[in-house]
Symmetry: C2
Subunit: 255 residues, 2 copies
Amino acid sequence: MNILTPEYLLHNKCSNCSVHNRRICSTAGSAAAEELNRLGRIRHIPAGQTITTENAYADFYGNVVSGVVKITKTLKDGRQQIVGLLFPSDFFGRPFQDVSRFSFEAATDLEICVFERHAFEALLKRHPEVEHELLKVFLNELDATREWSVLLGCQKTRERIAGFLLMLLRRNGFRGCSKDGQDANGIINLPISRKDIAMYLGMTLETISRQLQAMSRAGILKRIDSNQFEILLPRRLAEIATHEEWLIDDGLWSR
Amino acid sequence: MNILTPEYLLHNKCSNCSVHNRRICSTAGSAAAEELNRLGRIRHIPAGQTITTENAYADFYGNVVSGVVKITKTLKDGRQQIVGLLFPSDFFGRPFQDVSRFSFEAATDLEICVFERHAFEALLKRHPEVEHELLKVFLNELDATREWSVLLGCQKTRERIAGFLLMLLRRNGFRGCSKDGQDANGIINLPISRKDIAMYLGMTLETISRQLQAMSRAGILKRIDSNQFEILLPRRLAEIATHEEWLIDDGLWSR
DNA sequence: CGCATATTTGAAGAGTTTCAAGCACAGTGG
DNA sequence: CCACTGTGCTTGAAACTCTTCAAATATGCG
């Protein structure tokens, strides 16, 4: 079923959208804003569904309104890597290229705002200020991806998990990431499965599990349930994320 | 010493430049081309020198004309990761941001064409077609970085090295990558040190050395000298790069 | 030629994965 | 209401890849 078929083409007022004043949608007041309003269609996607398939033609782009999108690449033997996660207000898809080199999938139930490809690219041509905004969006995405490759390239498993938790904390101030809004006050809600976290951090889900337990035993985290952790020592977590300068010995972690 | 001081502000004709018809410089014929010509200054940088320091203000961007630039990030404890390599015709620097989150260093002796930051950004504003070209440049860079994080996230050391060699092969058709132009016909010239390769592939230089020897013993490569390898079985190399579907046993590699 | 630097090779050790089993939780049906 | 079943998470032990430390060899340059 095509994501752009008429049944989904219900216009939405951007003013009702929780991310309407962010990123490329923030060009409010300009003529482009009205065009974007006419162009965008809200669409709900259940968790697990693929939005854009690797090596396939993609005829739309869009913004994440709520939920998390994972960008993945699969090797011939089935190994899979998540090369990026997209949160509310993030842009998904790859303009100016017929075939996507990655797959975009719903990591959670999703609300997205989709733009038909050619109409959107025509809009960019007419409104350089929107294209300028898009350039800034992708420059930030490039910086974030490069920093993530530092994490993948030379950090230990515990450091990676600490970095992941802090990334979630940074991004969870935004609406739509958690159902209850609890995330702000020290409780992290892991929005994706252990398997997905593993594919994002370049390690196995068993190692994730073990390290989360180790950090709980060390008093840095407190397990609420399997997807919720309270951060007891955020400063310590930040130290781990950048580098460990003390001995890795659970006994020393208790204070 | 400032890279933009008068002694370096010698105008160059783009028509003499080996990458003048590539990327953002390919807008030939337009009014923008002439402006770029006036703006760009050729500058020679010795290997090892830092062009832009991490967390420092950068007042210029530019194109690589010949040589290789490495983009690095250093952790507090000294661990370092190369998050990208830039070859001739690649753009370096980070527009629209005061402070660079990465360091840009000359991995080899370098010839670059630099643009003063504010003048360049003003040009982008006047000429959306150049900014459009820049967006495409960074979208490609983002794709490449994401594919590299697949390599870092879930590939084994031998696969990473194979992927690195093939990446060099892909890029070495361009002028300025090797002194003798030998690269095209199956001989790969490693333009950077083992230490840099290690920091790029997220492994130690010892492992690089061992795996290169292993692939030489297996008849896939032939060592000319420590920086030159002839590719005897390119198809095999490509198979390794994506995934190894046979047993990893040097004995089986000999055919 | 001799020194400094870069690369190769070797052996021991650590961290992570793999394989396997056990546990917790949610949904389903009796 | 509770066992049943599927799924996802946790935990354990063994195996393995890669790193670390150390030394030898090769390469480049004055």
